[in-house]
């Protein structure tokens, strides 16, 4: 039986917006056009949650809320006030009247869906009693100070590769807040994005909320997409990003971050939280110079040497610089080489199909699979999964073959 929500609002437009938003989230919605009608329906129709407009001509939302709290049948119902009043005084008045939550119009549909989900869960704590132990997932950030070297490509394939290898909760976080398209590269419509978290106080963001915002890829990988509009990305603070990444690492075995090409504070918090940073390089002078700057900054930030792994991506046929020369310039070994593969890469980007999923046996698909394996947690790498996934079997076979050689 669907969860039933009563929306009380004298404006048919707001009523329709609220019911459209909540119907889409799978709830059954009934409406009342006045405070008096709201009180009647609250008693007669047994809703699971009530959304109350504050300013209504007959009985205002505060009075309706107080009366609902006095009535034994409705005293414990979760109530959300929905109003255009955004002063602290009005908010306090709402809570004094007995409201559980308070949302200001105009609201984002995804935020209303998220808050309703949280309220309903709080109202039914016994149903959630057996929450799994928190986990300590591994966070891998993919980074390059220079654009166009394939950061999103590598991050997307790494996340999908990890999900395919272990079948464990994996999330891809797009932190290119002003220009990211990790979702589109996985053929996902960015219906919900970081922007849906922009207005929400950090303290109110929990996994339940994030679940509403994360997209789901066919591989099972969840995706936190970049905002669709530039100005929405600018509202996100480093504090909020750090908070969200913490929650994700407690709920996912693997968190893969697709980072922008800068050292802004929103990027730095992600680098700080990463257990491993995959630094992408291209075989050209500017990219290597950027790589060198990157490693200097990492040193200055106090990151240990083995936190960063260098990955050389042959993004074009040109090979201006040889591997040995790059290693000498950076005084570090290159850990991974991605060969030049224009066709599969272009196809993957245009069709939203990551090679690691679409063509796992191709050279580039196999490489991403191996890359995912080597980025995996030690305890996962050391144990054969039961049953082994097709991806794991392919990786293991390739490792055997390499040993024989």
């Amino acid at each position: 039986m669907a969860i039933k929500i009563l929306a009380v609002d004298d404006s048919p437009i707001i009523s329709k917006l609220v019911s459209g938003t909540l119907t889409q989230a799978g709830y059954e919605v009934i409406t009342a056009a006045s405070g008096t009608e709201g009180l009647k329906r609250a008693e007669a129709d047994h809703p699971d949650l009530i959304i109350l407009d504050v300013m209504m001509p007959d009985l205002d939302g505060y009075s309706v809320c107080q009366q609902l709290r006095k009535n034994r049948a409705t005293a414990r119902l979760p109530i959300m006030m929905l109003t255009g009043q955004d002063s602290l005084e009005e908010k306090v008045k709402g809570f004094d009247a007995g409201a559980d939550d308070y949302m200001i119009k105009p609201f984002q549909p995804a935020e209303l869906q998220a808050r309703v989900a949280v309220l309903l869960r709080r109202a039914a704590p016994q149903a959630q009693a057996s929450v799994a132990e928190p986990i300590h997932g591994k966070t891998v950030a993919v980074f390059s100070l220079r654009g166009g070297v394939g950061v999103s490509m590598v991050a997307g394939n790494l996340a999908v590769g990890l999900a395919q290898l272990w079948g464990l909760p994996t999330v891809l976080v797009d932190l290119s807040l002003t220009a990211g398209h990790a979702a589109l590269m996985l053929n996902l419509s960015p219906r919900t994005t970081w922007a849906d978290l922009a207005q929400m106080p950090v303290a109110e963001i929990e996994m339940e909320v994030l679940n509403q915002v994360l997209l789901t890829h066919v591989s099972g990988t969840r995706v936190l997409a970049a905002p669709r509009r530039v100005e929405q990305g600018e509202l996100l603070t480093a504090e909020k990003i750090a908070g969200v990444l913490k929650i994700l690492s407690r709920n996912f075995q693997y968190v893969v971050i697709d980072l922008p090409h800068d050292f802004r504070d929103t990027t730095l918090v992600a680098l700080d939280q990463a257990d491993e940073i995959m630094v992408l390089l291209a075989p050209e002078l500017a990219a290597v110079m950027n790589g060198s700057t990157t490693l200097e900054v990492f040193d200055a930030l106090g990151y240990s040497k083995d936190k960063a792994r260098l990955t050389l991506n042959y993004i074009s046929e040109r090979r201006d610089l040889a591997r040995a020369g790059i290693e000498e310039a950076l005084k570090r070994p290159i850990n991974v080489i991605i060969p030049y593969a224009p066709e599969p890469v272009a196809l993957a980007i245009n069709q939203g199909k990551p090679p690691v999923l679409d063509k796992p046996t191709s050279e580039i698909g196999a490489l991403f699979e191996d890359l995912a394996f080597f980025a995996s947690q030690e305890e996962h790498r050391n144990k054969r999964p039961e049953p082994p996934s097709p991806a794991w079997t392919r990786v293991a076979t390739r490792m055997q073959q390499r040993k024989k050689k």
Binding site: S11, I13, I14, K16, L17, T21, P57, G84, P109
Partner: protein, 130 residues
């Protein structure tokens, strides 16, 4: 598409934009397969409910009823925000404050602006759009 429309309006200084179409694009994400056009039905409701609310605001000012002004302006403000009709929403917000203050000084002048803004908004919503 929304960006193009916004750009066209923004480029015409004589007629500043009255609608943020991105809000409607956001409403389109609530569209469910096989159901009536959700965003369009919101627009239809807006077209239907706006003239009576504008009239109620006019009557409240004429009869110096501050409470009635506050309420009608509040409702039209909320409706307008929900559809991205930000100019009407802003003017209503100011009228609502005047109504809350009790003295209706300046309300008539603002009402003329509101009337024009509401007419333009309705016209824009009536234009064929995506």
């Amino acid at each position: 598409m929304a960006l193009e429309r916004t750009a066209v309006h923004a480029a015409s200084p004589a007629e500043p934009a009255v609608i943020d179409w991105a809000v409607l694009d956001n409403l389109r994400t609530l569209q469910e397969d096989g159901q009536a056009d959700f965003a369009q039905s919101m627009i239809d409701l807006y077209l239907e409910s706006t003239p009576p609310l504008v009239e109620a605001i006019r009557a409240a000012i004429e009869q110096s009823q501050a409470g009635a002004l506050q309420h009608s302006a509040h409702t039209l403000k909320g409706n307008s925000h929900s559809l991205g009709a930000f100019l009407v929403a802003d003017l209503c917000k100011r009228l609502e404050m005047i109504g809350r203050g009790g003295s209706l000084e300046g309300a008539s002048v603002l009402f003329e602006d509101l009337k024009r803004a509401a007419e333009r908004t309705v016209q824009e919503f009536l234009q064929p759009h995506l």
